[in-house]
């Protein structure tokens, strides 16, 4: 089976203008500008098969968004080649646009002063959907994302989570074969994240839609992706199953316990005490060898708890671990 996305030795560099502080620097920069070359993406190659759910992750500045923007035709690569659904995104952006969907979590596409239904009708026309197809698709999306009460409310009056559900619906209205999701759950609460994740998963399982996702949220990756590609400083570092990635690198959770009464003495049954303040304790647990349950039951029995939060390690931390342990072997590139 031929891949649906194929990337070969893709590179992208940006020329970033540099200028010192002060008026003299501003003047000299005007007459003789100096540029620094930033290698955003450096010689990456990978393939994605139809129906795969791929997480494309890395720390800030790793080149994730740049790669997505090249794959969707927004940015032109400096060198290398790519193929998405048989199209060259740089040369056939408009043709490709009919078959792909894009969600940029931090960028709105809905018309701010109008109800979401207006944007959806506009997009139906743009993506050349006829009225029965649009009506049926809208019904499906409304049920899956619980949009019914939101559609006729001006977008400016929706909460972030509600708006994001409408944004996702707008990107998927035309039944794209591939969906590029750039931080789709950023800033959302737990319930909204859960809704978006289960919808994306369902979409993949039911329609065989290919999912290409970037996220800083380790839970997005664990719950959504079958395969994980890690990119760091523009280079491909890891390309293997998500199960393998999680087992090898997402092996700790940080538990924050907020106390009602200060506690002086702590003897933890599991984990490493990271922070101990009068009303707050933070413990890091190695999930391969230690049990979160035992820690929580200890906390419930010994403290008066006001709140408990569980955090995944952030992606910067994971990549640092990958480098520091020098495990760039096997499936690592």
């Amino acid at each position: 089976m031929s891949p649906i996305i194929s990337v070969n030795n893709l590179c992208k560099h940006f020329n970033v203008k540099e200028r010192g502080a002060g008026i003299s620097s501003a003047l000299s920069s005007f007459f003789k500008p100096r540029y620094r070359v930033v290698q955003a993406v450096e010689n990456i190659s990978f393939e994605v098969q139809a129906g795969e759910r791929v997480a494309f992750i890395g720390p800030n500045g790793a080149g994730k968004s740049t790669t997505i923007k090249m794959l969707t035709g927004i940015l032109f690569p400096s060198s290398g080649s790519m193929d998405v659904l048989g199209y060259n995104p740089s040369e056939q952006r408009k043709e490709l646009a009919l078959h792909i969907g894009i969600v940029f979590g931090q960028r709105p596409q809905l018309w701010y002063h109008l109800p979401a239904i207006d944007t959806l009708r506009f997009l139906a026309r743009i993506y050349e959907l006829n009225i029965p197809t649009f009506t049926q698709r809208l019904r499906e999306l409304s049920v899956a994302l619980e949009l019914e009460p939101l559609l006729n409310v001006p977008v400016r009056k929706l909460s972030l989570g509600q708006r994001m559900r409408c944004e996702v619906a707008a990107s998927l209205l035309h039944r794209p074969k591939v969906i590029f999701l750039d931080e789709p759950t950023i800033g959302l609460d737990v319930i909204a994240k859960q809704q978006i994740r289960s919808f994306i998963r369902e979409l993949n399982e039911r329609d065989q839609t290919t999912i290409f996702l970037t996220s800083h949220d380790a839970s997005d990756i664990e719950l959504l992706a079958q395969r994980t590609i890690v990119i760091g400083a523009g280079r491909l570092l890891f390309d293997d199953s998500t199960e393998n990635f999680v087992r090898t690198y997402i092996r700790s959770k940080t538990i924050e316990i907020i106390l009602r009464q200060p506690s002086a003495e702590i003897r933890l049954p599991a984990g490493r005490l990271v922070k101990h303040e009068p009303f707050r304790i933070m413990v890091e647990v190695d999930t391969r060898t230690e049990s979160i349950e035992s820690l929580l039951s200890y906390a419930v029995n010994h403290f008066q708890i006001q709140d408990i939060n569980i955090y995944d390690p952030d992606m910067e931390e994971v990549i640092r671990t990958m480098y520091s342990e020098n495990r760039l072997t096997g499936s690592m590139r």
Binding site: T72, F76, E95, H113, L114
Partner: protein, 276 residues
């Protein structure tokens, strides 16, 4: 590979009509804003009336540069209302903001022409303001100087010139906005364009009052044929003037389209949206 689809012109046109429709609805959502802009135009017309009444009195004739006081006020009022309907926000600000905010990434990834989509949106966005402004300035002019005689054909051909003028103004300001893909701030370039349009575009002094050489230069530049020429033809129609205006407009539409398309193509090659 998915087979290439044949372009259906009907579907393509419907896309741009839809873009115009949604922009129209978005602008019409705030009628108070539309009316508040009309107040500032009304004030400007009243100032023109006071200034040019004194000028006509001091000169002592009924006409200056072939226009009576009533015609001159109607020309200036219509020119002002046309220009004010296209901004704020100007299309250059909209495009620059789209590039800065990253919304550009969504728009260029849609199956339509980026330039024509923005033209359609610009027209849709401007129509509610244009309607309110033209009705408003007509009322003000009727009160200040009374009606002027116009024919159906002069209105029709004047409106044709207005449509072409709107396209010229769009193409040039759109190209200024697209320059945000290279330069840090396009505001300076837009202000330069706007001020040149104010002086050479007949917005405060009709071109008929310009000295000979300056007038013939101004008549060939894009600034006057954007809005002033249409206003002049609506008020004082003249076939030789109409054909001359159409010729200049066609030239500037072709030149503007070439500039806008080149800016977009070259800009796309140098887009540097680094980071999320």
């Amino acid at each position: 590979m998915i087979p290439l689809m044949r372009i259906s012109w009907r579907r393509e046109i419907l896309k741009y009509l839809e873009a115009a429709r949604i922009s129209f609805r978005s602008r019409a959502a705030y009628p108070i804003t539309l009316l508040s802009r009309l107040l500032t135009i009304g004030l400007r017309i009243w100032i023109f009336y006071a200034v040019y009444s004194a000028t006509y009195r001091s000169v002592g004739g009924d006409q200056i540069g072939g226009l009576s006081l009533a015609q001159l006020l109607w020309v200036l009022a219509l020119t002002q209302s046309f220009q004010a309907s296209m901004r704020p926000p100007s299309i250059s600000t909209i495009v620059e903001e789209e590039i800065r905010s990253g919304e550009f990434a969504y728009t260029v990834c849609r199956p339509f022409s980026y330039v024509i989509y923005h033209l359609a949106s610009h027209i849709g966005r401007s129509l509610p303001t244009l309607f309110v402004n033209v009705c408003g300035v007509c009322a003000v002019c009727l009160v200040l100087v009374g009606p002027i005689s116009v024919s159906t054909s002069s209105v029709g051909l004047g409106l044709l010139c207005l449509c072409l003028g709107i396209i010229i103004d769009f193409l040039l300001t759109f190209s200024i906005g697209l320059s945000a893909l290279w330069i840090e701030d396009t505001f300076g370039a837009f202000i330069l364009y706007q001020k040149t349009q104010l002086v050479l575009g007949g917005q405060i002094l009709p071109l008929t009052m310009f000295p000979g050489l300056m007038r013939s230069i101004a008549e060939r530049l894009p600034f006057a044929v954007s809005f002033y020429s249409a206003a002049h033809l609506l008020v004082d129609f003249d076939y030789p003037l109409f054909w001359s205006v159409i010729g200049v407009q066609v030239f500037w539409i072709l030149a503007g389209a070439l500039i806008a398309q080149t800016c977009f193509r070259r800009g796309m090659r140098s887009v540097s949206i680094n980071g999320g």
